[in-house]
Symmetry: C2
Subunit: 152 residues, 2 copies
């Protein structure tokens, strides 16, 4: 169901009829190495540290490809900026994002599944997915900025 290694992801790409170019490998590697959600621009920066001949456009295209294959998880941390994280087991997770440093902690909860069932039966909706995201300050950032009020 979900891949457990970088190599398996590449295998899936090939199985899906995509070519394994060095650029794609690099993008997958960058995503694989990061355990935080990244914007396409951040992925691009990371990729370029390894090899400079990768265009931002290719990063976008590769991410889109991965998203279509459901291999990455997309969230919009701020509404105008999408970030991506490789899906790894355990499968379904939610996010707790630090509003100061951007750190993302994943968590799972069956409260959410229960709520989903309740909603489905109450509204008649056929629920396909959900976004559950908490925003706050991680311990480190709380200590660092005790007085600041908003970190927009």
């Amino acid at each position: 169901m979900a891949q457990t290694s970088e190599r398996e992801i590449l295998k899936k790409l090939r199985a899906d009829g995509h070519k394994l170019t060095p650029q794609r490998r690099a993008v997958v590697r960058a995503l694989w190495l990061s355990h935080r959600h990244m914007t396409p621009a951040q992925v691009h920066t990371a990729v370029c540290e390894e090899r400079e001949d990768v265009g931002l456009v290719t990063v976008y295209r590769t991410i889109r490809m991965l998203a279509e294959m459901d291999l990455v998880c997309e969230i919009s941390t701020d509404g105008h900026q999408r970030t991506y994280l490789l899906r790894r087991p355990p499968e379904h997770h939610h996010h707790l994002v630090c509003s100061v440093c951007g750190r993302v902690v994943d968590f799972t909860s069956n409260d959410v599944e229960r709520l989903q069932q309740r909603l489905a039966s109450e509204t008649g909706f056929s629920i396909e997915s959900h976004i559950v995201e908490f925003v706050g300050r991680c311990v480190a950032c709380q200590q660092r900025c005790q007085t600041t009020d908003t970190a927009h």
Copy 2:
């Protein structure tokens, strides 16, 4: 805490040092009349039905002003499009969005509050807000497109 009438919103704007122009009244009214999340463009369209001399820019500026005063609730239905809904009591709510027609159903749940407390104590985060959003198909859209798989 939360305003219960259009007039109270205008009062808050004035109290916050903003002038009550006809354009602003029109934007507030459009938001007030709608019980669905709207994009700035949709708000603009609605406003223009009443008076044509309101620019899209003004809608953006007014919405931003309302957002800064925390009088509207912003969500990004799709990641690249923000929608707004006037905050009305009961205060905190979540969303169930139809992926086909875009209809938004609000709901409240104390499961979410409970989960938030659990997370705070487990991770040490000081949680400031959360986004809980379910996406699915409403009853009407389920009937309309029984065979279709994706609606993008």
